[in-house]
């Protein structure tokens, strides 16, 4: 699986309340959630609106801190985020991302990228490429079981399969 995106850089411990504030969770329509993504965080919101799509979020430690709201992943996807590379992720966000087919990679490439850079990833080989500098960074490929979930289109894909097989 190959993906590419244009970089926006964010800091450590970006929490799910910041990604999508609680006051918008009464609807789960992705378009609605995307309208309000990072609404209280002016700087990140500006970056998202100015950067070409798809977007690659490059983050520090602990991305997806806090609430279990899956709406955070839906909001990011609908806002055009293609993948996230962070030093580390909080665990429920990580699971939600994989389960919804949003690619999340553990790694630190903040020193190699600038805002707006194009970044490419090869998921099966575990390589990140930054064409501007022709830099290649290796990352530990996802465990087989998680790749299977991504390949089938997230956990929904699995559920569809189970529902078809079992009557």
């Amino acid at each position: 699986m190959n993906l590419e995106g244009y970089v926006i850089i964010v800091g450590d411990s970006v929490d799910t309340d910041t990604i999508i504030p609680a006051r918008y969770l009464h609807k789960s329509d992705p378009e609605w959630l995307a309208q309000h993504v990072f609404e209280d965080s002016f700087e990140i919101r500006e970056k998202i609106s100015k950067t070409p799509k798809p977007i690659a979020i490059i983050a520090g430690k602990g991305f997806g801190y806090g609430s279990s709201r899956e709406h955070a992943v839906l909001a990011l996807k609908a806002a055009g985020v293609s993948f996230i590379i962070a030093e580390s992720f909080h665990r429920i966000f990580y699971r939600n991302a994989i389960n919804n087919g949003l690619v999340v990679i553990e790694g630190n490439i903040r020193d190699y990228v600038r805002e707006g850079d194009l970044v490419k990833i090869n998921l099966s080989e575990g390589v990140i490429t930054i064409p501007r500098t022709n830099k290649h960074v290796r990352f530990k490929p996802l465990p087989r079981k998680l790749l299977e979930i991504l390949e089938i289109g997230g956990l929904k894909g699995f559920l569809r399969k189970i529902a078809t097989e079992e009557h």
Partner: protein, 423 residues
Amino acid sequence: MESLALKILSKHSGEERVEPGDIVYAKVDKVMVNDVTGALALKILRETGAEKLVGKRKTEIYIVFDHYSPAHNWDAANSHAELRFFSRKYGCKLFDIGYGIAHQILVEGIVKPGELIVGADSHTITYGALASFSTGIGSSEAAYVMATGELWFKAPEPLFVKIIGNFGISVTAKDLALYLLKEFGSEGALYRSVEFFGEGLRNLDVNDRLTVSNIIVEAGAKTAIFPYDNETEAWLRRYGVRVEDEWGELKIEVSDVESMCVNLSALEPLVSAPPKPVNVKHVGDLEGTPVDQVFVGSCTNGRFKDIVALARIVKGRKVKTRLIVIPASLRTLKRMIDEEVLKVLVEAGAIIGVPGCGPCFGAHMGVLGEGEVMVSTANRNFPGRAGPPSAKVYLASPYTAAVAAITGQITDPRPYVREVLEK
């Protein structure tokens, strides 16, 4: 060294031994969704056709309306209606508006030691206080568990914490919890199973343990688990649970070398300042900060013990801030009525809310205005959590919150608590 989390996980996965980092599929005893995450789980079940499998597994399904209790707008009311219908159709256990917060309802006689429980709410971690493996998941996974009765888990690496000593005056489990957050930082327990042991546990009743387990998720933990002991047994009996002999094996035995140690006697009242829960300071460092609103409630500190701590301080006084008190469950509210705590609070000027999450969730009942300050007994204080980003939430114990309500500012609670307890 024996991790209780791994022991429970191995029993539920059918594997003889589970090592940290292993990915295993395990049978889930109970799955919980609330009115925010449940609506999305339902949508996923419908879209995938997996709804027809619900109710065919042994896994018990709990649905709790706590975030929008009662509904604050049409969408929330519609979600409630859908979930009520779903619940009747598939025999789920529904707790409708007013019953309280899922994390309190489930520990009032539903969760049993040794169980594997998941919930689409990050604070599901709370039930570790009853020697169970419980952890938060998303809505898709809740849907998956409802349909299949199992889920994949990455076995967590244990992080052992030894507790010794006893609390000094006005220092509570919330201060212990905040101390741990300060030590860990927001990623310090990431993916870990935090497991408690040591002679100091006899000074932590189940109320206290629930507060601690609840808040450890703010350091990234997967589970925060206490061993089964006399305190656990007493709590379960109080809620009518038939105690089983095998629970006696749910112990955590560790040598001192492998763990961090916390002396309760050395703790002081602490406060978490914005912008995140791990930003913990001594109460003295924030002394004098003007406060507009105090909130006593939430799955962290909305139990009867917490509300009694508040009542002791405000009894016979008039509060100088808005004071919102929300019991964590209907049982808590009933006990407040029976033991005349409600009267004390209302006479002091408190506003009593419907059992549920209240302003902690930030979408409902008691949110702040621009630039306002709240001292809250809850667990999160991100910008925008309970009002506009300019509003500030300070997290503290019920004593510290109560004293802030009567002085109108963040205040060291010790002289006030000492005065009350000496009376």
